[in-house]
């Protein structure tokens, strides 16, 4: 009898020891193939760098990070998210890059019992009426970047603007976000088919209208081409201000053509915050390129998870949510907190493309435009 008691006590201890040793499983779901793969690679690499910095442990537990590729397809992403949650049993899913993927994976992840941490996508519905206690967006709400530029143009008294975006949801959102904040005259809007690479027709039209400035949202390879063709078309005297068009993922191809172009961001490699310079140096050392805001998003996402799991573990869901919401992690952006809708309250900056002393093309902070800003949808969110 006594022996059995000792034995079962022994088994209990080993079982609970095994419980404590069970690794924290984190699924990383990004777009890692096709033309926009470079964004996903940056975010993934930023996250892996954070894991390395934490010594392979997240929240004090061994971390098992499972990286999957959504290939930019919402249906496939939903399926992979379901696999991560149901078959792999992950505690967190970090992803995605694109907003249309976010809409597809939100339900499979949260209904499956995992917590979704977005390192980049921040569509308006999740900031407003579809806000969810198990969704945390560490990046920004999509409208905020164009609003940085609209505010800058208002301050500079730029009275007329031409708008340019691809004809899909995010392009239309971006222009609407811009128009909501811009006080001057919108001379015209040009929507191009998604994936168009030659802008000769649009640039000729802009040249004919001679607006005081142009705002464009032209992500990925489209933006590389727009910027390269801008000066070739003799438009260098009209300022081209962009969101998600000139950053460290596109600058290696845009190079000199983008220098001095203005953009809006919540971060830049030379942002003077604790740990940022160290992060940039470590990223360059590990991956041979300058980190982008996507890399920063991946890094901050894992640091957030680390802080919350250290604080609350993963057993008590309410405590974990509260610890995530407290955001007690050293963000590369400095001041960082969550608004009621689990979207960030943070500063936004006007940045411009430069060639730095080491010969790298990167973005650089010009000035702070918004201080401790939250998005305009937070009022529609029922959470507190």
């Amino acid at each position: 009898m006594r022996a059995t008691a000792i034995l079962s006590a022994l088994m209990l201890t080993t079982a609970s020891a095994a419980w404590a040793e069970e690794p924290l499983k984190i699924g990383v779901l990004m777009t890692l193939s096709g033309p926009p793969a470079v964004l996903g690679e940056h975010a993934r690499d930023g996250l892996l760098l954070a894991e390395q910095k934490l010594g392979g442990k997240v929240g004090g537990r061994e971390a098992e990070i499972i990286v999957v590729d959504d290939e930019g397809k919402p249906d496939l992403a939903a399926q992979k998210a379901r696999e991560l949650v149901e078959s792999e049993g992950v505690d967190f899913v970090v992803g995605p890059i694109f907003s249309n993927i976010m809409t597809a994976i939100a339900a499979p992840v949260t209904q499956g019992g995992a917590i979704l941490v977005s390192p980049n996508a921040g569509p308006s519905n999740f900031a407003g009426r579809d806000c969810n206690p198990d969704i945390f967006v560490v990046s920004y709400q999509n409208d905020q970047m164009p609003q940085v530029l609209a505010e800058h143009m208002n301050q500079q008294g730029i009275g007329s603007v031409y708008l340019l975006a691809p004809n899909y949801q995010a392009g239309q959102d971006s222009l609407n976000g811009f128009k909501a904040a811009y006080d001057g005259q919108v001379m015209g809007e040009l929507f191009v088919p998604l994936g168009q690479l030659d802008f000769s027709g649009e640039l000729a039209q802009i040249a004919a209208f001679q607006p005081a400035a142009v705002y464009a949202f032209m992500p990925g390879g489209m933006g590389v081409n727009l910027v390269k063709q801008w000066n070739q078309a003799g438009l260098s005297q009209i300022p081209l201000m962009t969101a998600f068009t000139v950053d460290e993922t596109t600058l290696p191809a845009q190079q000199g053509a983008a220098v001095d172009m203005l953009t809006g961001s919540n971060w830049a490699p030379d942002l003077d915050t604790p740990g940022n310079a160290e992060f940039v140096a470590a990223f360059k050392e590990a991956y041979g390129r300058v980190p982008s805001l996507y890399a920063m998003g991946g890094y901050d996402a894992l640091m957030l998870i680390d802080s919350a799991v250290s604080e609350a573990g993963t057993e008590d869901r309410e405590a974990l949510r509260a610890a995530l919401k407290a955001a007690e992690f050293p963000s590369l952006r400095g001041q960082f907190s969550f608004a009621a809708n689990n979207f960030p309250v943070q500063d936004f900056y006007l940045t411009k493309a430069i060639k730095d002393d080491e010969g790298n093309y990167r973005t650089s902070v010009v000035e702070k435009v918004f201080t401790a800003a939250s998005d305009s949808y937070v009022g529609d969110c029922a959470m507190n």
Binding site: S33, G34, P35, G195, Q196, A208, V224, A253
Partner: protein, 307 residues
């Protein structure tokens, strides 16, 4: 407005010339070999990457442009010998499946080799400016050079096809393949030659656009569909048809996208016109294709189908 129209006409012509370079090889392969090659766009992409790579090592634009020719020719030969040769006798569906598979494999391979970030090729200093036209409008010198190079190649192709023995065989092959073979011409060698030359032209097109567009793993997909539109409008197998159709598609596409919304504004209210314009404009070339097929089912320069 008229100045803008002229400028857009130039833009359309430049786009058309580019389409022609890619379409010329494809229409011959399709017309003579009756072979549907979806991987033709990949050759355009390879041209861009080879250009970026050679340019990266030599730093000389013109040298790189010349080097692209034998290199893409070689790629075309290797693909023909290893893969395409085995598909000529198969059904169209098999060809579509196999070449589509090849598109996936080669795109992914180039992503592994060169990475997924777009690459850029510097423009030669002498051609990097723009020529002032009227008022604030100007036109990039490099795009004029693209038009010039494309016209030069079109002339050269015309000469080869209309005035040389190889050209004679090509025309004969397009008309009646079995007869040419029966008359003692090695049709397989002819196929190999046509295929490799087509690959070289597509590669050249990829190389000359690389200073304007970025080189990325998806660039081939974006041009392939319009190329098929061009060869269907022009008439399968006709290089002259491809030339006219490419210019037509280039101009209609550019003018439609730019002036379509403006024209619609005189008919509808501005918001509806903008919405309708951006929906209709990308469809315009397909409407054109449907119209051409309705009036001339074999394309503008296609031979009538023997019944």
């Amino acid at each position: 407005m008229f100045d803008l129209f002229l400028l857009q006409l130039l833009n359309g012509a430049q786009f058309g010339i580019l389409l022609f370079l890619v379409a010329a090889g494809l229409t011959l392969v399709f017309g003579i070999m009756d072979f549907i090659n979806l991987a033709h766009g990949v050759l355009y992409m390879i041209g861009g990457y080879v250009m970026a790579m050679v340019m990266g090592t030599t730093g000389n634009f013109w040298l790189s442009l010349v080097a692209v020719l034998p290199l893409t020719l070689a790629v075309g030969l290797v693909l023909e010998v290893l893969i395409f040769r085995r598909l000529y006798d198969r059904s169209h569906l098999d060809q579509v499946l196999a070449t589509f598979g090849l598109v996936l494999v080669l795109s992914e391979l180039s992503r592994i080799i060169w990475g997924s970030a777009p690459l850029s090729v510097a423009m030669p200093e002498a051609l990097s400016g723009s020529v002032p036209l009227i008022g604030p409008l100007s036109y990039p010198v490099y795009r004029l050079a693209v038009i010039g190079m494309g016209l030069g190649i079109a002339l050269l192709l015309w000469f080869v096809i209309a005035r040389t023995r190889v050209g004679m065989l090509l025309r004969a092959g397009a008309a009646n393949r079995a007869m040419v073979s029966a008359l003692g011409t090695d049709i397989n060698r002819l196929f190999m030659l046509v295929f490799a030359a087509g690959a070289m032209l597509a590669g050249f097109a990829g190389a000359i656009v690389s200073p304007i567009l970025s080189v990325d793993p998806g660039m081939g997909d974006s041009i392939l569909i319009l190329t098929f539109v061009v060869i269907v409008i022009g008439g399968v197998g006709s290089v002259k048809g491809a030339f006219c159709a490419a210019l037509l598609v280039g101009v209609v596409d550019t003018l439609g996208r730019m002036f379509g919304p403006i024209l619609l504004q005189s008919l509808l209210d501005p918001a509806a016109a903008a919405q309708a314009g951006r929906t209709l404009a990308p469809m315009l070339v397909y409407v054109l294709m449907a119209a051409v097929l309705f009036w001339r089912p074999t394309g503008l320069f296609g031979r009538s189908v023997a019944r």
